[in-house]
Structure formats: C-alpha cells, structure tokens
C-alpha cells in the first residue's frame, strides 16, 4: 500500500518494484500499470498536464488563474495577454503554455487543490494527475 501511495504521489516509479520488473508472472500487471500511469509521464511537478491537441488558445485559464491575476493584475487580470514573465499560463502560437510552475497553488507542502484553470477550460485541455 505504501508503494502504491508513493507511486501516485510520484515519489517512486513502478520500475523500482523488483518483483514486478523481474518476474514473468507479473508481466500483464506490469503492462496494465504502465498504461494506467502513462498520462502522468508528461506531468509537471504539480501534476499539471496540458493536452495541446485540445487547446483552442481561448485564454480562459490565463485570466482565471489566481496566480496570474496576482502577479499581473493589469494584464492577465484584466483579460489581456500577460505583460510580465511572472505568470504561470500564457498563450503562444494559439496554445496555452505553463511556466513558473512552483508558483502554482498545487505546488509544495501547503498545496491546495485549486481548480481555477481546469473549470473554465471548455475543451478539458487542462488536467491534474
């Protein structure tokens, strides 16, 4: 159970389980686990994944993100494109990009399960794992 929790919190990788990797009888389980954990491969440290193929660049997340608003109140907070580099979300070439991920409310020990960027996305292009 402890290993499962470590897997989900991404402090351990499934490849660190010796029986799973070495014993043939776990071959099917290994493949299943690999598939289940696949979405987490591209995730940021906060678990953020942007599905670029779904994003329409509407910028809802850019304006809704409380960190963007706090760090760029007269740009992102007012609906314009970000005016400085302190923001998490910005749209480049029609697709949203994430930076400064350590500023995200979901990062670090005191993280909270903020959904401010997920809920306004009409295409479900933003996900946290």
């Amino acid at each position: 159970m402890a290993f499962a929790v470590a897997l989900l919190s991404r402090t351990k990788q499934y490849t660190e389980c010796p029986p799973l990797m070495e014993e043939d009888k776990y071959q099917d389980s290994r493949q299943k686990l690999k598939n289940i954990l696949k979405p987490m491969e591209g995730a940021e440290e906060t678990g953020l994944i942007i599905h670029e193929e779904l994003c329409s660049g509407c910028g809802n997340c850019v304006v809704a993100c409380p960190v963007n608003v706090a760090n760029d109140p007269h740009g992102s907070g007012r609906g314009f494109g970000p005016t400085n580099e302190k923001v998490i979300f910005r749209v480049e070439n029609g697709i949203v990009k994430a930076a400064n991920i350590k500023e995200c409310r979901r990062f670090g020990k005191d993280r909270i399960l903020c959904r401010a960027c997920i809920d306004p996305c009409p295409t479900e292009a933003i996900e946290f794992v």
Binding site: G57, C58, G59, V63, G77, F80, R90, V91, P120, P122
Partner: protein, 418 residues
Amino acid sequence: MEMTEPITWTCTGCALLCEDIQVHIKDNKVEKVEHACLKGKARVYGCKHTAISTVDQAEVDINSAISQAAEILEKAKNPLLYGWSNSTSEAQVAGIELAQTLGACIDSTSSFCQGITINEIMNGSIPSCTLEEVREKADVVIYWGADPMSSHPRHLSKYSYFPRGELRQRGYEEDRTAICIDVTQSRTAKICKAMFFSIPPGGDAEFMRALMDGLAGRVPKLSYDFDVKRILELAAVLKKAEFGVIFAGLGLVYSIKEEFDLILEFMSTLNRFSNFSLIPMAGHFNMRGFNHNLHEKTGFIHRVRFTKNGPVSGVEYSVVEQLKHGADAVLVVGSDPLASLPLSIARRLKDIPLILVDPCANLTTRVADVTIPCGASGIEVGGTAVRLDGKKMDISPIVQGDGLSDEMVVRRIMEEVS
C-alpha cells in the same frame, strides 16, 4: 522590415479584433505569435496556398486579370458586388464607389448574418454598448444562440466573463453571471454550467415570450417540456442585473428572423425592469464595417442597388435573390461564397462570369473566371475595421507584401471602367 522585437498587432482572425497580440517577425516572416487564439494564429500565419492571377483558370499577369474583370463588369447589365466582410473599410468604401459607378447591386455577408440586428442597433431600436463597458460593468451576460468559445475564442476571457472590471473586481468568481440559451450544449454552455437553458430548435421565440411573462410576474406557458420554475428563476436574475448584456448569435437571429420585432419587444420589456444592452455576434473581422460604411454613403446597411434616382434597398437586391435570378456578373471581394453560401444558391456562380479578389486560393478560386490576388488585410495591408460592437479600430500590416491591396485592385478596376 526585419525585426526581432515583438510588435503589437490587432488580430483580424474574427470580429473581436484583439489589439494586444504580440507578433515576432524575422526576415519578413512571422516567427511566433503570443496571446492570439488558434483562429488568430491561423490568420497571422497567412494563406496555406496563395491565389494567383488567372483568366479562365489560366495564369496571366495581374494587369490582364484586372482588365478582364473591368471588361466583364462593364458589359454586365446587372452586376453584383459581394463579400467585403474580410476587407478593410477602405476597400469597402472603394467597392461602394465602384458599385455606384457601375449602377450595380452591392451586398455583404451580413445579408444572411447579423445585418438585421445591426440595422436595429444603428437606427436606435435596440440599445447596445461597447465591449469595454461589458468588461468594466457587466454583471449578467447572456449568450443566446451563440457559442463564442468556438466562434470568438477570447470573448469570455478578454471581455464578457472572466476578467476583472472596474465595477467587477472579483470577475467571474463572484461578480458575474453567465447564462447560455441554446439548442445544444456548446462549449460556452459548459462554462455556464447550471445557467445553461436548453431549448428545442426553433424554440427561441416561445422561450422569449415565456421569459417576458416571467418578468411581468405571470406564469410562463410553453408548448415544449421545460421547467417553468427555471424560467422564473432566470427572470429574477435578469431583473436584478445592474448592467446586463445579451450576445445575440446566429442561432437566435435565424430562429426568429420572421418575427424580429419580438427582439425589440423583449428588449423593451426587459429594460422596464432592468438595464440590458444587446451586441450582435458578427463573425468576420469587418462585417460590421461594411454596414457602417454603406450606411454612411446610402442610408442603408446592405442589399443596395444604385439606380439613376439614387440608391435603393430591398430584399430583392440581396446576394441570395440576385444569385437566384438577376445578377449577370459577380465581383467577390473578401469572401468565399462557394464555402459559405448554400449549394443551391452558390451553384449559379458557375453560370455567370465570376471575378474573385482574394489573397488565398479557396473553393471559389476553383470556379472563378477571373482571379485577382491581393494582400491579406491586417497582415500585409493596413487600414481600419469596425469591431462587432461598432468600435472603429486601426489595423496595421505586420509583413511587407509585394501585391496590391484589395482597395487598390478595386480602384484599378474602377479606373478601367470609368
């Protein structure tokens, strides 16, 4: 025009005309675009296939194509000049002057789009406001038969729902209510969550009447299955609005165009209890510009024919009626009628001489008798345009093109016919 620093650009991808776009140019080519949505990005990167000068589908030099176009228009007894919504206001004005010179009919895509709504706004029958007022003041926004999340992707983030405004410091979180009334659960409807009101196709007029009943304190009646309580709740939200805005989409306009006075009655009823404006969801970047420019010259917003006794307007001069029976030559500028008109109407384009002025190769270039390429408006050609709320905007070119602007092409044709 080589530069590495970003330049600020007004996007011509849709009628929102976002003026905060940053474009990085290198060697006269777009390298990167910031803050633009996918539509804007597609616009700024230009045509996939550029148009070439042709006569009878054979490549010719541009001067020959212009001469052939002038000859066709001069010979025609009833030419139609159509399109204009993807052109600058300067090109539209040149087109109106050409129509006057030829004694032609002139019409734009607004003829079967938001023209009817814009007409009522321009003659003062429907109150309207600017998008800046929406951002600073609006507390209740209604998307009726409109899906801006698909058609104008930055609509909600830049103006109508998410941003913090002067009187709406908490933005969407507490200070604004977004309502969607539509026949389908669109992307915009998903944002509106519980404030999405799903109505059956063609059910807009009945819903509007029911809502008016609700506003007046009567029990609403509907022939289709709908929870009357929800209409009463909606009426209560509308009554409490300090600054409400209805974004009228084509879904609403098409649904009630036969009884359009109902919108006037609805707005009047609503404003007895509250304070609401209406903004039409024009699509192409300068569709509304054509209405304003033509109105300035003729007093009509579209469907105009220039006669010896002056300009006249009527449904018989609309692109649809003229293509059904009437026009014996067509000049299309800033539109792709084969892609946008119903096939039954577009089919006639192959029976009459067709001249197309456009920067890109498109469906219509495949059947055009004469194709004249021009610089892309807002990319290679600057000028002015009118945003969907009626605000005049300057648009600047970002790269240097080597062709004529659409305005220059129209003026060259005019020189040859007059």
